[in-house]
Amino acid sequence: MTANPKNLKPSDKSDEALVRMFNAGQKSAFDYLVRRHQDKIFNLCAYYLGDMQEANEISQEIFIKAFRSLDKFQFKAAFSTWLHRIAVNTCKNRLKSLEFRFKKRMRGLNLGPQEQSDPAPLQITDNAGSPLRQLEQKERALEVRRTIDALPDDKKTMIILRDIQELSYDEIAAVTSLKAGTVKSRLARARLMLKDRLKHVL
């Protein structure tokens, strides 16, 4: 027996139901959408832009854009796909901007607290292995992030959307407005390039 959608809490409602609530005038419904998708969008922006502050700025910008244009949402694709499309386009524009290029040249990669010089003490557990092993993993993860950050924009988009955001090929095609075959080939080329650049790590 399924529950009546009207009786569900807003946090349990689907994205489309919350969008309808928002369009019906219940603006607080958008907060549930933000809470539900902020991790994904923030993660995408962080990997795409390579900087926490930029990721924060741009992810909020993405949600503001979504808030303003949500009345134009036509329910043809999932809300997350629509939101990812806004996110990818905003991040691409930001990458192209002169201000971002200048800032990136000055600061380098900054992907959060795990990148700081004074990291938190490592937790030694049975699964984590030896501290040396943990340190190697962190170094490897940092190198992989740097390599992804250095990829060309279109290949970076493919790697992030598929292997970090774990979108399906169809979702990637919907987000990037590409055909499924194009997504396949581009993703294959992006992975090959990444493999070549990570030879010394692997």
Binding site: D39, A46, I159, D163, I164, L198
Partner: protein, 488 residues
Amino acid sequence: MNCSEIQNHLSAFLDGEIDASQAKAIQDHLAQCDACRQALDGLQAVVREVRILEPVPPPDDFLAQFHHRLDSRKAHTTWIKRLFRPLHVKLPLQLVTAMLVGGFIYYVVQTQQPCLITQPEKLDAVSRTAPIETQKSGKGADENLSMPLKDHQADIQEEKEEAARPMRKEALKRLLRENGVDSAAVRKKSPPPDNLELKRKILEERQVRALSPSEDQTGAPAPEAPKKDKSKQALEAKKREPAKRDTVIKLGEPIIYGPQEELPQKPAPAPKRQRRVIQLALVIDAPSHIGNKGDPRRSAPLVQEQERIKPQAEMRDRRTRGLTSTDSRETFEAEDPMMDETQAPPLDMIASQEKTRSLEPEIEDFRSPASETPKKRAIGQAPPQTTPEPEMGPTPAEKTPSRTALDQIIKLVKQVEGDVVDVSYSQADGLPCTITASIPKQGSRVFLKALNNVGQLTPPSKIIDTKEPPRITFRIRLLGNQAGLNCD
């Protein structure tokens, strides 16, 4: 499928995004091909490395920050919406903006247009218009020509109150007619060389008028006009001075209208001017000259003229009083009977007369009595006053060309309102050899031209430029067989 095709599909094969038949074919190939299997292993390792990357979490207050930014943006957008969205605000705002933009464009176009005219053209426009305006207002050319156009127009009302000077108007009209230009042509299409010629002629006319003030007797109130507001005119002259000088200096105009302080009506001190001394040599008995004593045609009038010597007392009195209009008139009255007494000249004399006329085109163009006087004398008439003054040197025992020339020069100096400063005589024979005279700048050109009639002048007379001081000292040395010797 070969290895390259297999490797192209390995990425999709890894993700399970491939149809079953292709997946079966790839699996069969991988079982046999080590290279493709290694490629798949490498690809799997890369994907695994990327997928184990930890996600980057957003800040805890992400939603609060979002609300803060959303509210600030909303306030901003509502202000813009309030400004532009309602029609009763939007339309007047657009209308006012359109009018402002249109007005600005009109202003820019109107102000840019005069700038397209180059600087020399500007002066041409001013100088072309100035004589015409002078003609319209009936004001003397010597005052108005030196004014900038702006100041001139401002003073038109004041000038209209003054009495008209028909003689000057006539002279200007005649001048324009003789130059072959009507007023429109002068305004618009007169090329700069013609324009300069026009200005030069007007300057000449002013100088000639300074020589013969008796001409103004027809316009009764005219002589009193300059005296009327001397202080006011001096102030105006001071106001006009800087702009005028700027224009002249900037454009390098070779001939300028004389500044106000140089006009005979309003002599003003020129403290910074340097003294200018011009030394000339006058050959008084050159065989080719008209005034040659060896010419038999010249001797008779000279003898006649000697009989018409005026009393020395009268002459001295004149020098002390200065040349007034009455004196000048008396001079003409004295000359006219002499002209009547002279017989008609022979044909070769007419030819020489024509030659002299061609040598003096500028004076000829004016056709004023004052300008014709020296010419007539040069043709064959003796100068009216040839009496040497006793204080200038020893009493002449006999008339010599040098003494005659001295008398003529003294008279010329008086006519141009100059002063004879010194006359030196030869110690050997007592004949005059050097005459020093101070001549106003305005009369210096005429004076030099007239000197050409007394004798052969070297260097040529075109040595006066526009930057001369108000008074020029001429030191004329008489040369020739009959002149004084050992003057040094």
